[in-house]
């Protein structure tokens, strides 16, 4: 990775560091106060962050997604809605990781309405996050916001399904021949590189495919299965 690329990737960090340098020169006492303010948040996060990541990963791996996915079609009704909420609430990864997965679900027959539910619940009602919300804003606040959000999602997913038809979604993008890795979906968890280090490597924050390796199908299938956001696909 070139230095320029590295700088660009960490642009925000550099701006923050520069701001602190300016602050410490101009108003040292405010610089100290800023560090103290930040320390409070870092302390709070260190207590909760590891456990949120572990819980998210456990939920993601233990929920039988394949069984759930079968019930997301138009005829699934209430069951489909409930399963969509569950799927969104327990999945790992940022919301952009949900986009390719939802496209895949749509191709497999999931309705527009259920896709909106999955995307929205993926974004706002993650279970570990609810506990975090209760911690800082109180259980009553969390519970009310959760109920209202679920109701809102039920209503606007219905509106979306009335306004957007299946044909409004882009046609299948031509499938790339061979092995491909969707870098927009990758969240850099590095599981594929650990599963199959001969074929996958980390390039910056995302995984990439090493060129010139002839993949071993069994090992490759395992890596494809492992990827929590289904970013790896193959057409051999």
């Amino acid at each position: 990775m070139s230095i320029l690329k590295k700088l660009k990737g960490n642009l925000f960090l550099i701006i923050v560091i520069l701001a602190y340098i300016v602050m410490f020169i101009a108003r040292p006492e405010m610089g100290v106060a800023s560090v103290k303010n930040s320390a409070y948040y870092i302390k709070e996060m260190l207590m909760i962050m590891p456990v949120i990541f572990i819980l998210t990963a456990l939920l993601d791996l233990w929920l039988p997604k394949e069984k759930v996915i079968r019930f997301l079609g138009k005829e699934a009704g209430v069951k489909g809605i409930v399963f969509s909420f569950v799927l969104g609430s327990v999945s790992a990864g940022p919301v952009y990781a949900a986009f390719p997965m939802c496209v895949m679900l749509h191709k497999k027959g999931a309705s527009i309405r259920n896709i909106v539910i999955i995307l929205s619940s993926w974004a706002v009602i993650k279970i570990p996050m609810l506990i975090n919300e209760a911690k800082f804003l109180g259980p009553k606040f969390m519970a009310i916001r959760w109920v209202l959000t679920v109701i809102a999602i039920i209503i606007f997913s219905w509106i979306t399904s009335k306004m957007v038809k299946d044909s409004d979604l882009p046609e299948d993008t031509p499938v790339q021949a061979g092995l491909s890795l969707n870098r927009d979906a990758c969240m850099g968890c590095g599981l594929c590189t650990k599963q199959y280090p001969e074929l996958f490597e980390m390039e910056g924050k995302k995984a990439s495919i090493k060129q010139g390796t002839l993949p071993d199908v069994a090992k490759l299938m395992q890596a494809i299965d492992t990827c929590p956001v289904k970013a790896i696909s193959k057409n051999l």
Partner: protein, 160 residues
């Protein structure tokens, strides 16, 4: 440590233990995944936290609370919702931040609007979403999410 932190740790450790007994490989995979996700986010999280520390020194929460209380609730809520759509702060930093602001006296209505649009509406992720789902779907979903975020916030203001 407060009761919620303890509860989530105990719950997760029990889950982890059961998982380990049932399937050692799967558990190892989960831990690797957690580590990978954490490592991928650590730099951006630290920069955001230090940025928040700096901003709260220049603009103390009490000042923000006073400023917000001088505005009409609806205006404050819409501005907070707009602010939520353009910022990219992970939710687990947003909760303590909003906690600080509400503790300093900021009304819950704009706070809720900010929290909801922060995660549900994405200007930054808009191009990605458009590429996968098309313009119409993306505009409708984000637009409705924005409107409903404000509705949720206003209803919360009445209920709480």
């Amino acid at each position: 440590m407060d009761v919620f932190t303890i509860a989530i740790w105990v719950g997760t450790l029990i889950f982890l233990f059961i998982s380990l007994v049932k399937d050692k490989e799967k558990t190892k995979k989960a831990l690797k995944m957690a580590l990978g996700m954490g490592r991928g986010m650590v730099v951006s999280i630290l920069s955001i936290v230090f940025a928040i520390g700096l901003i709260l020194t220049i603009l103390p929460p009490e000042e923000i609370a006073r400023f917000v209380s001088e505005q009409s609730v609806l205006l404050a809520t819409v501005v907070a919702a707009l602010f939520g759509t353009i910022t990219l702060v992970p939710a687990f930093i947003a909760f303590p931040l909003v906690g600080t602001l509400v503790g300093a006296g900021v009304s819950v209505v704009p706070a809720v609007a900010f929290l909801t649009t922060l995660t549900m509406v994405g200007v930054v992720t808009f191009p990605l979403e458009k590429k996968e789902f098309g313009v119409k779907f993306t505009v409708v979903r984000n637009g409705l999410s924005f409107v409903f975020a404000i509705v949720i916030a206003l209803v919360m203001g009445v209920v709480i």
